[in-house]
Symmetry: D2
Subunit: 424 residues, 4 copies
Amino acid sequence: MTTGLASAQDGIDINERFQQVRKQSLSLVEPLSAEDCALQSMPEASPAKWHLGHTTWFFEQFVLRRYQPDRPWYAEGWDYLFNSYYQSVGPMHARPRRGVLSRPALAEVLAYRQRIEAEVSDLIADRPQDIELSRLITLGLQHEQQHQELLLTDIQHLLWCNPLQPAYRSRPVEPVAGAKGGNELDFVARSEGFAEIGNEGIEFGFDNEFPRHRDWLPAHALGNRLITNGEYRQFIQEGGYRSAALWLSDGWATVQREGWDRPLYWAKDLASSFTLLGEIELDDAAPVCHISFFEADAFARWAGARLPTEQEWEVAAAAQPVRGNFRQRGSLRPLPHQPVRGAVGQLYGDCWEWTASPYVGYPGFKPLAGSLGEYNGKFMCGQWVLRGGSCVSPEDHLRASYRNFFYPADRWQFMGLRLAKDLP
Amino acid sequence: MTTGLASAQDGIDINERFQQVRKQSLSLVEPLSAEDCALQSMPEASPAKWHLGHTTWFFEQFVLRRYQPDRPWYAEGWDYLFNSYYQSVGPMHARPRRGVLSRPALAEVLAYRQRIEAEVSDLIADRPQDIELSRLITLGLQHEQQHQELLLTDIQHLLWCNPLQPAYRSRPVEPVAGAKGGNELDFVARSEGFAEIGNEGIEFGFDNEFPRHRDWLPAHALGNRLITNGEYRQFIQEGGYRSAALWLSDGWATVQREGWDRPLYWAKDLASSFTLLGEIELDDAAPVCHISFFEADAFARWAGARLPTEQEWEVAAAAQPVRGNFRQRGSLRPLPHQPVRGAVGQLYGDCWEWTASPYVGYPGFKPLAGSLGEYNGKFMCGQWVLRGGSCVSPEDHLRASYRNFFYPADRWQFMGLRLAKDLP
Amino acid sequence: MTTGLASAQDGIDINERFQQVRKQSLSLVEPLSAEDCALQSMPEASPAKWHLGHTTWFFEQFVLRRYQPDRPWYAEGWDYLFNSYYQSVGPMHARPRRGVLSRPALAEVLAYRQRIEAEVSDLIADRPQDIELSRLITLGLQHEQQHQELLLTDIQHLLWCNPLQPAYRSRPVEPVAGAKGGNELDFVARSEGFAEIGNEGIEFGFDNEFPRHRDWLPAHALGNRLITNGEYRQFIQEGGYRSAALWLSDGWATVQREGWDRPLYWAKDLASSFTLLGEIELDDAAPVCHISFFEADAFARWAGARLPTEQEWEVAAAAQPVRGNFRQRGSLRPLPHQPVRGAVGQLYGDCWEWTASPYVGYPGFKPLAGSLGEYNGKFMCGQWVLRGGSCVSPEDHLRASYRNFFYPADRWQFMGLRLAKDLP
Amino acid sequence: MTTGLASAQDGIDINERFQQVRKQSLSLVEPLSAEDCALQSMPEASPAKWHLGHTTWFFEQFVLRRYQPDRPWYAEGWDYLFNSYYQSVGPMHARPRRGVLSRPALAEVLAYRQRIEAEVSDLIADRPQDIELSRLITLGLQHEQQHQELLLTDIQHLLWCNPLQPAYRSRPVEPVAGAKGGNELDFVARSEGFAEIGNEGIEFGFDNEFPRHRDWLPAHALGNRLITNGEYRQFIQEGGYRSAALWLSDGWATVQREGWDRPLYWAKDLASSFTLLGEIELDDAAPVCHISFFEADAFARWAGARLPTEQEWEVAAAAQPVRGNFRQRGSLRPLPHQPVRGAVGQLYGDCWEWTASPYVGYPGFKPLAGSLGEYNGKFMCGQWVLRGGSCVSPEDHLRASYRNFFYPADRWQFMGLRLAKDLP
C-alpha cells in the first residue's frame, strides 16, 4: 500500500456507501435556514452552503473530470468558488471571503449536489471493477465526512456569534449519563519498546497516516480518561490563566493579546457554556472542550504532567475497538466517562485530544500523486496533531491511525486533553 | 424653527406618506433572496435585512416607546441588534459584525415591520393634531429613505464581491439617453456677495442644515455639468494615478496602499463597469461615479480647477427645481447630461457631488435634543460634504440644503464631481 | 503679494538672521548625546539628528541647487535620506524608518551643517540685492524654526518612552509664576461683522496664510484664557472620558481603542506629568496641554461651550502684540495666565489652541510654485487648525495669521484649548 | 547529569574563561559608534547596547543576586530594561521598544559591564570549589556567546536597512577560498538503526539537549555539503518562487504576503548580497544563506530531496571534530566547501542548517529549575531546529548536540540548508 488510498471497506457496496454519506450531509442542514447556511463568522470557518458545494466540487473535479476530461463544468465559475486550496487545479475564491457569496443560492447548491450524485452514481455503475475509481470515491467520502464535522463546528461558532444565541437543535429529554461518582483520574503504564505506528493499509487511510513504520517509545503512562470541566475550572480558579510560568511563550502572548480567561463558549461565571443545543449548564464530569493547544499544554504543566505524544496515543488506541460518543449518538456534546478499571478509556469520540506532537510527515512520507498531494502534506508546519475524534465526528470515519491537526491557538473544534507522564 | 424638525409636507396625509415610504423599502428587496439580504461585504456596508430592521427599530425606539414608555420591546435583544450608533439609548451590536446574524430571519424581520407599522399607524390616527408626533414620523421616514439608498449601494457592493457578478435587476430595453453631441463642459459665473445658506424651515430638514445663515461668497464659476466617464478616462490615461503632485498627501498614501488605478467597479480595461444592472459598457457621456474625494480632488487639480464649496453649490441649486435622475426614474445608474445653455445643470440626481467643504456644523449649529442629537452632529470630523443626491436617492428626499457626508476614501456610494473655478 | 513669500524682516540683515537661527538649532541639541539624537520613538516623530540634517538639506535643495544647478550634492544619498515629503524632487526614505539611520553620525551631520551654512552665507554675500534669494532664505529659516519646535516635542516623547524618564533639562530654580488667585474664566464678546483674515503680506507668511480675504463672522465670545489643568482634571473626575455623549464619533472610537483616560504625559494619579524638565507636579492654574482635538472638543461640549473658529481667534489676536511664553522664556512648559481685565489673554505661547476649523485653503488659495508647493497645500485634508504657538515655539516665529495643523488624534505637540460661545 | 548544567570545561580556569568571553563581546562593538549600538531595525532584533547590557544583567540577576540576596541592583530600573523574557523574575521592557532607549548611554553600559565583571570575578575567587557557581558562570558565558552571535546578525540587519549601506568591517585582502571545481553534491548513506541522541553530560549543554536518549533512525543519506548560491540561483531562475506546488501552505502565504523572490540581503540582480563586509559579489560555490525554513523546504522539494532531521544531522556530526568557518576565522560570511571524499562535510560553521524537526523537548525533557527554566522550554512551539553554527558563531560554543531554533519565516540569521534523502 504505497498510494495512501485504501480500497473500499469490505462488505459495503461503494455506491450504497456513496448515497449514505451524501445523505448525511443533507440531514445536517435540515435544522438550518438558507440564511444560516450562507454566513461566515470568522476567516477560519466556512458557510454550511460552501461545505455542501465544496464536497460536491471535490467529486466533480477529482472523479468526473478525471474520467470525462471533456465534460464541461456543471456551472461556470463554480470551480473557482468551491476550490478550497488546490493551487494546482487553478485559482480559488479567498477563504475569508466565503461569506460574501449569496449566490449560488442554497437551493442551487442542493440541485448541484443531486446532479453530481447522479453522474457519480452512473459512473460507479459503469465501472464496477475499477479499483482506482473505488479509491477515489472512498477518498471523496472521507473528505465529505471531514466537512460534515466542520459544518457543525462552524455552525456552532456562527450561532454563538449571534447575541440571540439560537440553538442548532433543541435539547432532547435524555437522562444525564450515569453516575458521576467513581471517576477519579488514573494512569495506565506502558514500558519502553518498539511500536508499529501508522495505517496498516487494510482499511482506508489518508496519505499522512503512511508509511506504517516502527518507532521506539520510552516508558510512559496515559490518563485513563479526558480531563473534565470540573478539573479545568479548578485550574482557572487557582490562577491558571494568570501565571505566565505555566505557558509556552507564544501561548502566553496569545492569552494576553486575546484576553483569554476560560475556554471558548464558556460563560463568564464558569457555570454554563454555549453548545449546539444552546446554552447549557456545564457538567463537571464531562470532558472540557474548546480549548487551544496552549491551554491544554498549560493545564498539563499545572497538573505536573504532560500531553501524550501521538505515538503513545496510537499504541493505546490500536488495541481497542472504535467506539465512543460520536455524532450518531446524537448528544452533540462531550459526555462523562464510564470508567473501566485499568483501561485507558474515552480514546474515541467526545472530543479530539491535543497531543504533544507537531504535525509532520512520518519517516518516508510521500503525498498523494498529482493535485491530491495538496490534501495533507502542505500543512505540515506550525500545527499540532489531535487524535480520537469527537461528538460531532461521524462514527464510521475514525480509526486509530487517524491524524487531525490544527494551529495551537485554534479552539472552535471540539478539542480537549488527556494527561500523560514519563516513567523512569 | 429651532428644533430642526419641520412639519410634514403640505398636502400629503402623514399616515399615507408613512405607508408609501415603508412600502418602497419592501419593493427594494423584491429582487433579492433571503440569502442576499443577510450578507455583509465590508465593515462599512450593512445587510439589506439589517436596513429593514434598523429603520423599523427607529420607529419603535423613537416613536412608540416615547409615547408608550411601558410598552415592551417587540422582541428581546432586537433593540441591541438594530441600534446603529445611538450610545445614549444603550449598547449595540458591532457594525462590522452585522453579517453574522442569520437570525432573526428575513421573514421575521418582515413580520416585525408589519407589526410596528400597524402600531405606528394607529398612533398617528389616535393623535391627529400632535405636531411633535408628525415631526418624529417625518424624521423616521427621511431616515428610512436614507437607508433605502444605502440598501442599494450596499447590495451593489455585495453582488460585485461575488465572482459570479450577478445583477440586482436585469437591464431594461431602454433607448440610450439622447444625442451625445453638444455636451462640452462650460462654466457659469457668479460674482461675489452674500448668500443665504441652510434650510429655510418650511420643508423638513435635518439638524445639520440649520441654522440658516448668511455667508459671504467670493466670485466663482461652476461647471455646467458633472465630469464624465470619458473625461475621467483621459485623466487615467494621462497618468493621473501615477503623478503624486496631483494628490493630497493622504490621498496619495491611499492610492499607494490600495493600489487604486481607476474608479471602484470599473473593469481593468476601462471599458465597462459593474452596476446594479450587472456589468455594462461605460457610457463616455455619463458622469463618472464611485470615486473618492481624493480622486475627485486630484482630477480637479489635473483639470486646472477645483471642487465647488458646498455654499457655492447650494446657491446654484436653490434656484432650481429638484428634478433629475433619481431612483424613481429606474435607470439605477448615472446618465448623460442634457445641457441647457447658460445653466448649471445636473445638480440633482445621477451622483452625489464631492464638495471642497469639510463636514462641520454651521455657525450656531445645535444638534437635536436627546438621543436624536447623535443623528448627525457627532460625525462632524474627518468627513466631506456631498450634495445633490444620486440615481438611487428617492426623488422626494432631496433638497437644495441637503448635506450628505462621507470619509474622503469612501467610494461605494454613487459619488462623482463637478468642477469650479475662482474668478478674479 | 502673490507668491506667499514675504520679503525679509525689516531692519535685520538676512545673513545675520541666518546665522542666528541656525545657531539656535545647535543649541537645542546641546543637552543631548549622539544616541539621544539618533532615536525615533514613533512614526510621527523624527530623530533630532534628522531634524538637523533635513533643515540643512532644505537649503541645499531649494537654495544652493537652484542657484548652482551643476553643484554636486554634498554627499551621495543624503538627498534621499533628508528629503521629508517632496515627491517632486525625488524619492525619499520612509518616515517611520528614520530611526534606523545610525549613519551619517551626528558629527557628520554637524559638519554638513557647517559646510552648507558657509556656502549659503557666501551666496547671500554675493547677491545682496536678490529679493528672490532673500525670500528663499527666509522661507528656509521659518522652516528651520518649525523643526526646532518639532525637535523639542519629539525629544520629549522619546525621553518619556524611556522607563528611566530622563529630563531634557534640569529644572531651574525659578519662582512659580505669580499669584494663582483671581484667574476665573471670563468671556469677551464680539458682535457680528466682516473681518479681514489672512496675512497682509508685509511680514513673512506661508502660502496657507494667503490670500488675505474678507469673511463674515457671527457674533461670538472668546474665553479670556486657556483652559487649565485644574479645570481639565474636573472634567476627568466627572466622567468626561466615560461619557460617549460628549465625544465626536471618531473621538469616542479613539478613546476606546487607545484606552485614553487623561492627557498624554499625565501620571495615572492626575497629580504630575512628564515634561522636558522631567516629571513635575501639575500646576492647577497652568494650561492643560498635550490633548487631542477630540479631547478639546469633548471638554468644550462638557463645559457647554465650543472651540473658537480660526477666524474668531485671528481677529482677536491681530489686535495684540505677539508676546507670551515662548521658547526663549526658557520655561519649556505652559505657565498660568496673568489676567488683564476685559482682554482676551494668553493668545500667544504656552500651548497651541485647537480651533473648530478643519484645515483647508482660503478662498483663492494657491500653493507656492514648483516643488515648494508641496509645503502646505497637500495636507489640507483631515487635519485641524491650531493657533498661537507654544512654550517651545521660537518667539520671533509666530504671528496672528500663522496656521498650524495636526490630525485630530495627535497629542504630542504642546496643544491645549480655549472656549468660545455663540452670541445671539 | 540531570540539571542540564555541565561543569566548566576541563583544563580552563573558569575565571580566565570569564574574562576571555566578556572581552570578546567588547571587541565586537569596536567598529561601531554609540549611535550604531543604540538602534533597533525590527522587533526581532535588538540594539548592540542592549545585548551588552542584557548579558551583564544575566550575571547580576542569576549569579550575584543569588549569592548576595541583599545586594542592591547596580542601577534602579535597569533590571526592568535588561530583562529579556524571564517573567518569573519580574516585568520587562517590551522587546519591540528596545530601540527607544538612548539612556543608559553606551558608556554607562560599558561601565556597568566592568563593575559586574569585577564583582563576579571576586565571587569566583572567593568560592573556588563551588560547582554550582561554576555551572552558573558557564551558563552565563554560553548565554553571552549566543548574544555575541545575535549582536552581529542584528547589526548586519541594521546596516542593511540604511540606504547608505555601510559595512561593519572593511573587506580584508584575502585570497578567495580555493578552487571552485570538484565540488559536486554527493550523498552519504547510513542504514537504519538506533542512535544515541543528546548531550552526554561531559561538556556543557543547555537543558534542551537533555536527556540523552536512544532513538530509532530509518535508513537515509545526507548531502556532503551545504547547498550553494549557484544552486539556489538556479532554483530561483527555474521559477522556484512562483510555483505554489513546491511550498508549504504557510510558506506560500508568506511568499505572497512579503513579496519574497530571493534570499534576504540578495540584490535584485541575484549577483551580489549585503554582508558585514558591505555589498559583495555572490560566490557561486559558497553556501546560500539568509533563507527561511520555508525556502529551505521548498528548495529541497524542488531538488527531489528533503531536509535532514536533527537526529540524522547529530549522528553524522557527533563523529566529527567541531571545526569549521566560525567567527574566529574572521571571514564573517559563509565560504565554499573543501570536499573530502565520502565524508559529510561542512557540518559546523558557515551557516546554520534548517532541519526537518520541529523544536520540541526530548522524551523526558525537564527545564532547568527556577527562573532559568524559562531559558529554552517555553519556546517549544512553532519553531524549527537548526544545527551546526555559523560564520558568526564563536568557535568554542558549538557541539554536536547543540540545538538552535527559529520561526520558519525568520531569515536574518545565517541560515542555509543541506539535503537529505530516504533510503529504502
